[in-house]
């Protein structure tokens, strides 16, 4: 078996090949390039985390009534502040947490699936997973009148079911990405009409409720809805992050990845289960917030460059997108728009540009 040290005989070859630099200097260049990339990634993640923090704080501070930062901090750390405790503590804090957590879930899950399928256009909200989760959640809440953990359970079972069905339907001697995406689109269309039906059967056509399940909203967030999502992120997030290296290897193609010792099918299953789980829990809490899963990955990839894992940056971008869009939707426009509408409208031009760019340059994240 080969040793872990650099092969000394390769040195002999190096001397034969004309024009090679002195031994060790290339390794130094490689190290330099790698460090530079790591620094860039660190900076990007740091800035993104700061943005999320600012947006989080703004969600607590800004609104019909503005609160000062010291007041907000006091409420968050558990003190009783008359006039602020209710609004900040019971209304805005769960909303902010929900926004950050679901955004992170969507961003992380979205980029994982896009990377695995080697196509930025293959996002959980396109291939039917979000549609399944929201149809099940809408059914559970509106038709069955359930709440809290039961809704999450429905959503996750439905989302996993959809993922399984889509995967099995796409399986013929292995899964072709194209076929998977197309089948996902078909299943999504079907599930969206189911959601629309469930909504139309509601006792009254409540537009607010409808928008939650059609495009996503943070309205009426309470701790009961937030908690399952936080737990899901804490459990499934690390699973996904652990597959980061394997995912990066998968981008080279199944054969090349296998040749490097990556267990392709096992990685796929783990990634799918974790990502789908994240999407399901997040959707059960806030509805399918349009385009967040879709956009976070490509934005992250552009920021950190192709050699770095985009998983963590995409999570932060998702959180930032949701919090900022909600801020805009609640405060900056005449009417209060739920977050899904804002991301849907603002995301559309970027989406189009992304499709154009992907088509022009071939498919890769």
């Amino acid at each position: 078996m080969s040793t872990q040290q650099p092969l000394p005989h390769l040195e002999a070859v190096r001397q034969d090949v004309p024009g090679t630099p002195t031994p060790g200097s290339t390794a130094a260049t490689v190290r330099r390039i790698r460090r530079r990339r790591a620094v860039r990634a660190g900076v990007v993640v740091g800035v993104l985390a700061a943005v999320v923090l600012v947006a989080f704080t703004a969600t607590l501070v800004v609104g019909e009534r503005w609160y000062s930062i010291p007041d907000v901090v006091a409420v968050v750390t558990g003190h009783e502040v008359p006039g602020a405790s209710f609004t900040v503590g019971r209304l805005r804090l769960p909303r902010a947490v929900l926004g950050a957590v679901t955004g992170f879930c969507f961003g992380l899950a979205g980029v994982a699936i896009q990377t695995m399928l080697r196509n930025p256009l293959a996002s959980p909200d396109v291939i039917g997973i979000s549609s399944g989760a929201s149809a099940a959640a809408a059914f559970a809440i509106i038709t069955l009148g359930l709440g809290g953990a039961a809704v999450s359970a429905f959503a996750i079972v439905a989302a996993l079911g959809v993922a399984l069905v889509v995967y099995l339907l796409a399986y013929r001697d292995g899964v072709a990405g194209t076929r998977l995406i197309l089948i996902g689109i078909g299943v999504a269309a079907m599930l969206e009409s189911v959601t629309a039906y469930v909504l139309s059967r509601a006792a009254q056509w409540d537009l607010q409720e409808a928008t939650r399940w059609l495009t996503g909203s943070l309205n009426g967030a309470d701790w009961e809805a937030v908690l399952p999502t936080v737990v899901a992120l804490a459990v499934l997030g690390p699973v996904l992050l652990g597959q980061g290296r394997a995912l990066a290897g998968l981008r080279l193609g199944d054969d090349a990845a296998s040749a490097q010792g990556i267990r392709v099918e096992r990685t796929r299953v783990l990634v799918i289960v974790a990502a789908v789980g994240l999407v399901a829990f997040a959707t059960a809490a806030s509805g399918p917030i349009a385009f967040v899963a879709f956009l976070s990955g490509p934005i992250a990839a552009r920021l950190v460059g192709a050699g770095t894992s985009p998983l963590v940056p995409a999570g932060f971008i998702g959180a930032a997108l949701v919090l900022l869009a909600d801020l805009v939707g609640q405060n900056a426009l005449g009417v209060r728009y739920p977050v899904g509408v804002v991301t849907g409208v603002l995301g559309s031009p970027y989406l189009v540009w992304l499709i154009i760019r992907t088509n022009r340059r071939g498919t890769s994240l």
């Binding site: 197309l182 089948i183 269309a189 139309s200 385009f291 728009y337």
Partner: protein
């Protein structure tokens, strides 16, 4: 021979549609209702079902023709006005018109819907054709799905501030033939007739187009003209249909495929057959929707999606799709 069979099936379904529904009626009432009298509640029910059935026939035929033409123009077996976002674009145009410009006149609404359908069709086609391979099924479907999602968000964004039209918005999310009146049918008929005529005129051209643009041009076909005329016809059909009945998808996908298996790929036969087939499908879906969930009704758009999606998936599975 198949044609006669299809027509017979259609006639039977029409009768069924008029007879069946949330409320049971007797044969006498059916006859009386058909001749216009509405003395009893049963006859009134029949009188309501007639326009609805007629609308389903007409819209079903139009959507099927539009789907067949779209598949011919894009050489894409997965083309359908719903999947390509054309119906969604029409809906968006109408909702925007209603919310921002006070659009309400029926004819104007139809023109606006047609314009929306046209813009959406062009947009999706352009986006889907960029890059290697032109407008492959995957790229078109993705462009369509993404555009539909975008349009749907915009519909909500536009209608949210306007509580007065919120109720109406619901009908723009799901297509249905309930609430049809003879007036509406008469208003939409010219659009549909014009669209159908345009499509029929390009039938022969579409056959040649199936060989590929270069080959077709080499055979003397005026590719751009045929494409343009056919697309215009399809857009007229989709836009007007959506204006009257809301977005109904999958009819344009399923029917042409079924009839291709029966009668082959000659568009001169395929178009009329698809028309009848589309009518059959939509009337059947409407009857099903009225019967399955008595006394409630399930809108036609939902039934076609639930039935059409598995067919869509079956089509994808049967074809050899090269991986990315």
């Amino acid at each position: 021979m198949w044609f006669v069979v299809s027509l017979a099936v259609l006639a039977g379904l029409v009768l069924l549609s008029v007879t069946v529904g949330a409320r049971a009626v007797s044969a006498d009432e059916v006859l009386a209702g058909l001749t216009g009298s509405s003395r009893t509640v049963g006859e009134a029910a029949v009188a309501v079902r007639l326009p609805r059935t007629l609308l389903a026939v007409v819209i079903g035929a139009s959507l099927a023709i539009a789907g067949t033409v779209m598949q011919g123009v894009t050489r894409n077996p997965l083309a359908d006005p719903g999947i390509l976002g054309v119906n969604a674009g029409a809906s968006l145009a109408v909702v925007t018109g209603m919310a921002w410009f006070g659009l309400s006149a029926a004819i104007a609404t139809m023109w606006v819907a047609v314009a929306g359908a046209a813009v959406a069709a062009v947009f999706v086609y352009v986006v889907g054709s960029l890059g290697r391979g032109g407008a492959t099924p995957l790229k078109l479907a993705l462009a369509g799905a993404a555009s539909s999602a975008a349009f749907a968000s915009l519909v909500i964004a536009v209608s949210l501030p306007r509580g007065d039209i919120a109720e109406g918005v619901r009908s723009w999310q799901i297509g249905g033939v309930g609430g049809a009146t003879a007036d509406r049918i008469l208003q939409v008929l010219p659009f549909l007739a014009a669209g159908a005529l345009l499509c029929a005129a390009t039938a022969k051209g579409l056959n040649t187009l199936a060989l590929g643009d270069d080959l077709a041009a080499g055979l003397g076909e005026r590719v751009a003209l045929t494409r343009g005329l056919a697309a215009t016809g399809a857009v007229l059909l989709c836009g007007a249909s959506t204006a009257v009945a809301g977005p109904i998808g999958f009819v344009g996908l399923v029917v042409p495929h079924a009839y291709r298996l029966l009668v082959g790929t000659d568009h001169r036969w395929l178009l009329p057959f698809s028309a009848v087939g589309g009518a059959v499908l939509l009337v059947a879906a409407d009857v099903l929707g009225r019967v399955v969930a008595r006394p409630e009704e399930i809108d036609v758009g939902i039934i076609t999606a639930i039935v059409g999606a598995p067919v869509f998936i079956a089509i994808i599975r049967r074809r050899k799709v090269r991986s990315l």
